[in-house]
Structure formats: C-alpha cells, structure tokens
C-alpha cells in the first residue's frame, strides 16, 4: 500500500446539545479542518461525507450539505456507515491516483433525533422490528453477558474500563462534558442505573452531538502541506452476519478479520502498536476488541494495563464513552490517534507513540468493524 497522509483535522467539542444549526455545524467543522492545514476550498478535489438519512431525518441527507460541506463543484459522495468507512472511501479515491486532496466529514446531532428508534429501524423488518425488542442497549446487555459467562469475567473488571475512560475523558477538553468524570469510582459505575442488565448507564457510550472532519493527501502532496503528517499504513474492514443468534457474541469476528487485514497490509503485528483508539459502544466492547485485535489473549483483555501510562494505552482520549456522536465517533478516534502520534494530545499524551490503531463500527454488537494502522511521519 502506498503512503497516504493525514494532513489536517478538526472536531467540534461534543455536547449533549450543540448550539448550532445543521449547516452551521457542517460549515464550522469543514472550515476548521481546512484551516488546520492552511488550505483553501479550491485545493479540495474530492469530498466524502458521512451521515445517515435516519439520523438527519431526511432522505438524501448529503444533498443540502454540498455548499457548507465544501463539495460545490467537487467530486462528491456519501458513505452511510461510521466515519472511518468514509475515510476508507476517500483513501481509495486517493490511492487510485484520481485525487490529490480529500476531505472527509462526519457527524450527527442525537439531540434532534430519537437515537434508539433509529437503531430499531435497522432491525430485520420482517421479523424483529414489529416486536420492538432489539436495540443497541439490549444487544449490549446480551454481548456483555455472553462475554462474562464465557470467560468468567467479573463485572468489576468491566466497570474498571468505564472508570478509565471517564477519567481520561476528563483530561480531554473536547469530550462530552457529561462524560467527563475525574473522580468516578468502580462503585459509582456499578451503582448507576441499569440500562440492560448487566450494562449500566456509565458503561454505555451515551449519544451526544458532534461533528468531525479529516483531510487526506497522497505522500508527495502531504509533505508539501505539513512537516509532520501521519501516514495511513494499513486498513482492514469486515462484516459478520446479522442475527445475534447466529453469532458468538463473546468475540468479535468482524474485528478479528479486519485487524488481520489491516496488520497484513501494514506489515506489522499487534505487538508493534503503541497506542489504540477503539470505538467501544460499551465498556466491555473495548476488552472484546483488544482481544480480537490481538493485544491480549482471548478472555485476558481485562488483565491488560491500558491506562495512559500503561503497557498499551487504549482510549487515552476517553473513547466513545467520553463522547459518542453517531457517525463521527470512529472519525474522532482516528483524529485522537493522530494527535497522539503528533504529540499534540495535551494532558493525555502517550509517551513515544510511533504506531497507533483506530477503529470504527456499525451495527449491533459491532457487526461491521474497521481498523486503521497509523504511523508517525516526519521528525
């Protein structure tokens, strides 16, 4: 795989309800990304947006965002998954040699739409949707129970992850203020309201408003734009089957295959990774993912020291628990990984990070997962 550089990024501070109009928000985000790289609108050759028609409450949700999204008279398209999938499409466009500077923007405002209902709309309409039983919370409860039962994990081990992420989020000034809890304890997590047993409210990545944008350029152009770009070394993505009854919920097959593909194209192994930013919809998903990627053996994910100064820091920015803006969450994970590699993560910087991974996901129990391997460039 040829080198493609991340040359600019921006994301709006996440909040439960942002004080922006829809187009306002898109404009601020896209403008912010361009400004971060010191570029102009006319430098863009392609724009990929990532929104969801059901999140925006309109069909063709990208049509009205052509102007504020910087896509006016530019080769444009929309990916309706997670932000990193949109980056994947932009990456492919650049790798094909047709484009020289790609902009990706992604995000949504859950304060304006019923998030759980939109997840219900995604269930099998001929069998599951009329029963109104399946949604993100229920799928998370089943997944956590399956994981705990399979490996005999204690609920405290999972609460520990939530505590770590909430504490990390407190150091990240762009995280959702409601999730920034510097003094939280394991007991607080376990005592918070039950969502879907055994998942409690503080183990769940609460949806909040947010939007993010990223700029990609091929090697030659990237070096002209910035002195320290971050290179995309490898990418893998995969989708497993839909019905929860067909799947082994205690593991993530999709992430396993995606990470295999990503590491193969990057030519590294899980051991080479210095920092990871994973999109965990629930605290236990971080453990399942770190096992699927190969940071820990199956069932040993909770033994891994993933604090900021630990063996392998996972989600030093606070992860999705620190702010989950549907569509943007995965993209924000990528941006945070880039910040770590550039040494710009003030307050939660991991020492000497050279290689990072960042993930995104779509669907119930992360049915479709994507993983990026990012490498520090420049000096």
């Amino acid at each position: 795989m040829e080198k493609v550089g991340i040359v600019g990024y921006f994301y709006v501070k996440m909040k439960p309800e942002l004080d922006y109009g829809r187009y306002d928000l898109v404009f601020e985000t896209v403008r912010g990304a361009l400004d971060s790289a010191g570029l102009k609108k006319k430098d863009l050759t392609t724009v990929i947006s990532c929104t969801n028609d059901y999140y925006d409450g309109r069909t063709i949700s990208n049509a009205f965002c052509v102007e504020p999204g910087g896509a006016y008279l530019v080769d444009e398209s929309k990916v309706e998954m997670d932000g990193p999938h949109a980056v994947l499409y932009a990456l492919m466009r650049i790798l094909s040699g047709n484009h020289k500077l790609a902009l990706v923007w992604a995000g949504s405002t859950p304060s304006c739409f019923p998030y759980d209902s939109t997840q219900l709309y995604a269930t099998d309409p001929t069998w599951e949707r009329p029963t109104e039983l399946l949604n993100q919370m229920v799928s998370g409860g089943l997944q956590m129970k399956a994981y705990m039962n399979k490996y005999g994990i204690k609920v405290e081990d999972i609460a520990k992850v939530a505590v770590k992420n909430h504490k990390n989020a407190a150091k990240n000034e762009l995280a959702n203020p409601e999730a920034q809890l510097p003094n939280i304890s394991i007991n607080d997590v376990l005592k918070s309201d039950i969502m879907s047993d055994p998942v409690t409210e503080l183990m769940y990545a609460q949806p909040c408003d947010g939007m993010a944008a990223l700029l990609l350029a091929p090697e030659k152009q990237a070096l002209k734009i910035t002195e320290n770009p971050v290179w995309i070394k490898g990418v893998g993505w995969n989708q497993e089957t839909y019905y929860l009854g067909d799947r082994n919920l205690h593991e993530s097959k999709a992430m396993e295959l995606a990470s295999k593909m990503a590491f193969k194209s990057a030519g590294i192994t899980a051991k080479d990774v210095d920092v990871a930013e994973l999109f965990e919809h629930f605290a236990h998903e971080e453990l399942i993912f770190s096992e699927a990627i190969g940071f820990a053996e199956k069932g040993k994910g909770s033994k891994l020291n993933s604090e900021i100064n630990g063996d392998l820091p996972i989600n030093p920015s606070g992860g999705a628990i620190g702010g989950n803006a549907p569509c943007a969450t995965g993209l924000i994970r990528m941006i945070e990984a880039v910040k770590q590699l550039q040494g710009k993560a003030q307050g939660y910087q991991v020492k000497d990070a050279k290689i990072a991974v960042a993930s995104g996901q779509v669907g119930f129990c992360a049915q479709n997962s994507i993983l990026y391997v990012l490498e520090k460039g420049g000096n």
Partner: protein, 415 residues
Amino acid sequence: MGRQTCVISAGFSEHASKRSDVSMPEMVSEAIEDCLKKVPGLELKDIDAFVNGNMPAFEGANIPELWMTDWLGARNKPLLRVTTGGTTGGSVAIAGYYTVAAGLPGVDTVLAVAFEQQSQGDTSVGLASVALGEMTAISSLGLPIEKLRRLVSAGAAIGIASYQATNYMRKSKITEEDLARVVVQNRRNAAKNWYTHLKMPNLTIQDVLDTPYISFPLRYGMVCPASDGACAMLFTTEEKAKEWADIPVYVNGVASVANQTAIVGYNAAGAGQLDPSEQLGSQLSADLAFKQAGISFPRKEIDYAEVYAPFPNQELMWVEKLGLFEMNTATAMYKAGVTAVNGELPINSSGGVNSTNAIGASAMERPAEAALQIMGKAGNQVKKAVHTSLGHGWGGIINLITMMVMADEPQRKFR
C-alpha cells in the same frame, strides 16, 4: 499508483411496480444470481469485497445491508455502504470501481449492489422529507402553510423536472410532440428487454399526448414509473478480468461532481442554479470523466450512451450537456432515428429510467447496461459493435451527478 479496473458482469432482478413475492434481501439475491451466472467459473467465494447502497428513506429500513449480509453472500467479507439519493446506484458503481482501483492488498474482485423496493414505502413523504426541515424552518419565519404546500410540490422531483422542461423547451424550441417521441422510443425499447417495468411495444406519440398534465409541461404518460428492483455489477482487476471474461470492459473514467442545491435553496435561502436546465455539475462531470478516459471528441468516440432521464426533456437535455450532440439538435436526432437501436448512436436501448425506475438501483443500471452492450450481452443488444459507452446518473436536489465511461480497451494512465 492505481490500477486498471474492469467490469466483467452485471445482473438485474425483475422489475415491477410491486415485487410482492420477495422481501428486500431476496430481491437483491436475484440480481446477484443473475450477475454471477454470466461469468462461468466464478463463485461468491471469489469475491473479496462488497459495496452496496439504496435510498433508505423510501423503504423504511435504516442501514439494511446489515440485515441482508447473508443474502448478499457478504458474511465475513469487507463491505462498504454508499448512498447519495437518486444517484446511489451510480455512486455505488463508482465506489466499486475505486475499491478495485485503489489496489488495497487482497481486494481484487468487488461486487457492487444497488436496490430499491419502493412499493414498501411512502415515496411522497420520502421525497417531502428531503426538504422537510427547510419547510418547517420557512414556516417558522412566517410563511403560511398554504404557500408551503406549493413549495412541497415544487420540491419533489417532478416539480424540478418541469422547471427544467420549461427552460429547456424555451431554449431549444421543441414541442410536446418531441417529448412524446422520446417516451415512445424508450418504452418500445423496454418491451424488448427482459427485466423492465413499463413494456409498451405498440405505444404511439398520440397515446402519450392524450394523457393529462401532471405538472406543466409534463404529462402522466411521460413520467417514469416507481419500480421495485435490484442491480449488481462485478468489478475486478485487468488480469483477473482477462481470465474470466471474453470481453473485459475497462472503466476508464468516473466522476461525480456536485453542484449547488436548486429551487428550495440551502438554509431556506436563494439558490444559485439560476437555470435548472444548465446543469453545470453534469458538464463538469462529463469533462472530468472524458479527460480521464482520454476522450476528446465524445460525439465521435462514444458508441452507446445510457443517460438517467426519468422525464423525456431530460433525456434530450443530457445527451446535449454530456457532449454527445450539438446544443439544440437532440430532437432532430431522435426524429431521424440516430438514437434508435439500429441507429448511429443508440441511446437508452434498455428502455432507460423512463421505463424502469427503482430509484436506488436506476443509476447503476445505466453503467451496467452500457457495460453489457460492450460485452454483447445486453437484453436489447444494439446492432452495431459498441467499443466505447457511457453510463450517467442524476439525483439529489438536481445537483448530484455520476458518470462512468467504459471501453473495450484500457486507457493507460501514465503517472
């Protein structure tokens, strides 16, 4: 950088106003079956990645590709979803092209699928929801609801098309009869194509002109139907294509340039597309795609074209805007039979969107048909040998365009 990409097959499901016998995934699997059938020796396990898309708000299901994983044959395979409204199909095809062209390790053969089962949903609310936010916003600025209703009817695709028709008819001085002639050609072609929706082998111009107006100057008989259907296209690398296909179809140029939104302007304000029949986006898309494909004289070099025209005036407009005919001459070409199946430059021999419109799939059926014409496997195969063809898509708030230019020999890119 990049690599040569080929189309080796394309398949369709049967299209009808109500495919009541199949669920959405079952309909999609029909198209995939038809697509794979045309390539002997290729099985689902040979496919490395999937790209798909539809227009979700018309069918009521959010991200339905998750649910239909098994029906696609995508279990434990990489899958990407691309949706851009009316151009979804074209965007999916372009994404399929880029997935191969990017040269990611282990991703060689890509199946692109686009589908739509409109009979499940409420197309009018679906279309109104395009600008529902804008409507509510304007109403809170004080515009009475009765005026708004008129805005809604103008916001729908038919309203926009009639603006285009008004402007285009004024500029090129054509009559309604000329519009009807295009319809007759399309629907008679559709009768010879196995999967199409409106098969009318004996339609006459007078039949079309006898129907009432739906929105001036368009009549009921001129308007596209709403269909259920799916389309699949198979992309692969040059090496593998030579192995699998007799005539690999090289994708030489792709483009999808977006223009400003029109009519109901962005954020309830004025729209910059003063003349909806001007279509700057499509002109730029055509320029970009032809440049990539090394085509300097599209009029001479293109042998076959599939353009996305739900309404007849658009077909006339597009063939001119895409550079296939001189400005304001398209009508004469249709009259002279240049665009017929046995003509010099056949257009929409498949019957086009005017006869079959499963919105999400329509824009993919255009490049799919254009590719099949080169392979010689199309449902309504043209008489002359086709070497270069183009497939075009249109959608959004008349502002999104997709273009795919294909040929039986590669345009090498020297970089």
